[in-house]
Amino acid sequence: MTPRQKRFAAIGLGLVTLGAATALVLNAFQSNLVFFFTPTQVANGEVPKGRSFRIGGMVEEGSLRREADGLTVHFVVTDTVQRVPVTYKGILPDLFKEGKGAVAQGQLGADGTFIASEVLAKHDENYMPPEAAEALAKAKASGAQSSKTVIVQPQ
């Protein structure tokens, strides 16, 4: 093989690998990206049907309820504007508490209950999962905005 052919072969190999990798990545991205939604977005029906996604917010005080099997738990995630009931079967992370932030991953059931496959752990007491913090901030901001529009309207 001449150096020229060799170079083409090398470039070809690189391109084939790159193409294969890209195809794999795109394919995997297509089916495995998990989007995040706030309880308000869930209430507005913005969430995908039959697909896994994440919700985050505050675990509502007094909403945690445990079934007799000791493993199935029900609680409500809220961004202070909307509430989403969540069902989870399994052991909750150490730092899961009412009145604290939490993020859950799963699917929305037909009755509007979020069936969580995973409840995410926080790493220390004062830390709020950023998604949960954002959900609260958004709800607050939209609340502020709507009051602002009331003020703006008379103009």
Partner: protein, 660 residues
């Protein structure tokens, strides 16, 4: 007073680093031996200055000096001494000091083991490392000073995050950083070659041991981190494709490619430009990893304060290092030349394919890690890229690498014949396919992934056996043991490292295929069966640790009526931060782990409990250890010993055959 001495030492170190980064490099450019010679004393004094700073911080932790902000934030007087000292790298500022300290340690090592290098080369290498050091010292002194005072002093420290109060904390970060920072030597070698414009086989031979040692440290560091997550987080997983883990895995992948590319440059003088690019890439990924983890961009146990000034400094530093070295590469690489030619089927081409695949895998991991950050930064929504993405991308990309791992060492350099090669590996291929088809059935279940795992593992092992047999056949004289002993250590090192991969693959395959996980509610006296093992819950009792109180459960484990062991998982409450931690209890074994962790207390003394049976899980970390041992063995080979220390007797007869 002591913290001020530490602070002052850092300032002096910065000045020295600045001199080290400029004067010797200039000296090398104009050919002034006296300026070049400055590199060694500069590097050594920098090492001692940073050592003093490190010692001062350690002293502050030792004395519980809560007038130092960093100590007050990460330590506590109730904390046991070994964790107080490990708390030095328990948060952002201290871990940067550790990074810098390790960098100066590597510099010191370079000054000791580089007497055989040309003076200009050594000056440039130390110069480049000095410049990296300037960046880190500036960063520490400007925005993250570990010696900052807290006035008035705190009465008590905030304590180290309980997750970090673990023996893993003592070992994992230093090992990982030894790896990360070790690649700075390879990087400095590469830049020195670009600056000097001469890159030959001798250059590769000099930089190979450094790269391999760094790679070994990184391998061990990652394995320690994985093992730590396994028993400390209480989830029983050993790899989560968490961005923090990916941050350490990417330099490992690129470093692995570099180790192999260096082999070609060393043995055949090929891949020169590519090797240099890989060295730049590997160190850049190390830097990216350090900063991703420590900047607070990623939310995890590793991320601490989020200070926008730090983020800005980090981004500019990354831009300068990566941009600068790539610009130098673009400017000088054409002068370095491409190196020797080779046929499309040859050991070189197999190694090239291995490199391309490894880099593709690195790219896929990088994309999955950074994509959510980009989307978030551009305010396009929050997403997460979870394990399913990485699993479905990584496995297909890495499978060909493992296949090539078997065939590469058998192929001739420069040009190999496909039919001859196929003939040599036919029985290895037969054995592997048979194992892949039959072994899963014997174990009770046949799935494509199980089969693939066994295929790859037995392929790596059987081709290694073919390779050893062929080596022995080429040698004459001596008994079997004698002939085995005459094979060079670098060859054994390679086989061992590849064998480590096979062990790792077996571990992953068995865990993925046969693990049992169960969350159950257990009353006192209840039994649960997991993976054929009977767990009986005998209630809980209260215990007290040095800085925590805990509820300790008792579980009797038996199998087929025979008592095996008693496990004591704990639920700890750390007093300083009033934080609850799950401490799993694990019975480790060669072929299985039994894993119990307490969930939550339920009514009437019942608990929710997590029970795992994990077959072969220790093989995962065992494989990593074997890889690292292989690397160390390869480095100890006589061919890397500097000429003045090499014994008068030259290469033994057998060694030349291996180098084929």
């Amino acid at each position: 007073m002591i913290p001020e001495i530490g602070h002052y030492a850092l300032i002096l170190a910065l000045c020295v680093a600045f001199v080290q980064g400029t004067v010797p490099v200039y000296g090398a450019a104009v050919g002034n031996p006296r300026l070049m010679a400055l590199a060694i004393p500069a590097a050594r004094s920098q090492f001692f200055l940073v050592l003093i700073a490190f010692g001062c911080l350690a002293y502050a932790f030792f004395m519980n000096d809560f007038s130092v902000l960093y100590v007050a934030a990460t330590s506590n007087s109730q904390l046991p001494l070994h964790y107080r000292l490990a708390a030095i790298w328990g948060a952002h500022e201290g871990s940067l000091l550790l990074w810098t300290f390790i960098l100066t340690m590597w510099m010191f090592a370079v000054t000791v083991f580089s007497s055989h290098l040309p003076a200009a080369m050594r000056a440039r290498i130390l110069g480049v490392m000095g410049l990296v050091s300037v960046g880190f010292l500036l960063f520490m002194l400007s925005v993250s000073n570990p010696f900052e005072r807290l006035i008035p002093a705190a009465v008590e420290g905030r304590d180290l995050n309980p997750l970090l109060q673990d023996p893993g904390m003592v070992l994992h970060p230093p090992m990982l950083y030894m790896g990360y920072v070790g690649f700075s030597v390879a990087f400095a070698f590469a830049l020195a070659a670009l600056l000097g414009g001469n890159l030959d086989a001798a250059w590769a031979r000099w930089s190979r041991p450094w790269t391999t040692v760094a790679w070994c440290f990184l391998t061990i560091g990652i394995a320690l981190g994985s093992g730590w997550a396994y028993y400390e987080l209480g989830w029983g997983g050993w790899w989560f494709w968490d961005p923090v883990e990916n941050a350490s895995f990417m330099p490992w992948l690129a470093g692995t490619a570099l180790v192999h590319s260096l082999a070609v440059t060393d043995k055949r003088g090929g891949f020169k430009v590519w090797t240099v690019l890989l060295a730049i890439m590997t160190f850049s990924l190390s830097l990216l990893g350090t900063f991703l983890v420590r900047s607070g961009v990623l939310t995890s146990v590793h991320a601490f304060a989020t200070d926008p000034k730090r983020g800005l400094f980090i981004l500019s530093f990354l831009a300068v290092v990566i941009g600068g070295s790539l610009a130098l590469y673009a400017w000088r690489a054409p002068r370095v030349g491409l190196g020797g030619g080779f046929a499309p089927v040859s050991r070189e081409s197999f190694l090239l394919a291995n490199n391309v695949m490894l880099i593709a895998a690195t790219g896929a991991v990088l994309l999955g890690t950074l994509y959510p950050l980009f989307l978030d930064a551009l305010d396009l929504g929050k997403i997460s890229v979870g394990p399913p993405y990485f699993d479905s991308v990584f496995v297909p990309l890495i499978t060909p690498v493992l296949f090539l791992m078997g065939i590469g060492p058998l192929a001739q350099w420069k040009k190999a014949e496909v039919p001859a090669l196929a003939k040599r590996v036919r029985w290895a291929a037969g054995v592997s396919v048979a194992t892949a088809l039959i072994l899963p059935l014997v174990l009770g279940e046949w799935t494509p992934l199980l089969s693939l795992g066994f295929l790859l593992a037995s392929w790596i092992v059987s081709t290694a056996i073919v390779s050893v047999r062929e080596q022995l056949a080429h040698m004459t004289g001596g008994g079997l043991i004698g002939r085995l002993g005459r094979l060079p250590r670098s060859y054994w090192g390679m086989l061992l490292a590849h064998g480590g991969i096979a062990i790792f693959v077996i571990g992953v395959t068995m865990v993925k295929g046969f693990e049992t996980e169960q969350d159950v509610r257990m009353n006192v006296g209840d039994t649960a069966v997991v993976g054929g093992y009977v767990f009986r819950f005998d209630g809980v009792q209260n215990v007290k640790g040095p800085n925590y109180t805990a509820v300790r459960g008792t579980f009797h484990v038996s199998r087929a009526g025979r008592d095996l062991t008693v496990l004591y998982p704990e639920k700890r409450r750390y007093l300083a931060q009033n934080q609850v931690m799950t401490e799993a209890a694990i019975d480790s074994g060669l072929v299985r782990d039994l894993y119990v962790s307490l969930g939550e207390p339920l009514e009437d003394g019942a608990w929710s409990v997590r029970l795992y049976h994990k077959p072969f899980v220790n093989w995962i970390w065992g494989g990593c250890l074997v890889m690292a041992v292989g690397g160390v063995l390869a480095v100890s080979d006589r061919r890397y010993r500097p000429a003045w220390r090499r014994e008068p007797q030259m290469v033994p007869a057998g060694a030349q055959l291996v180098g084929r």
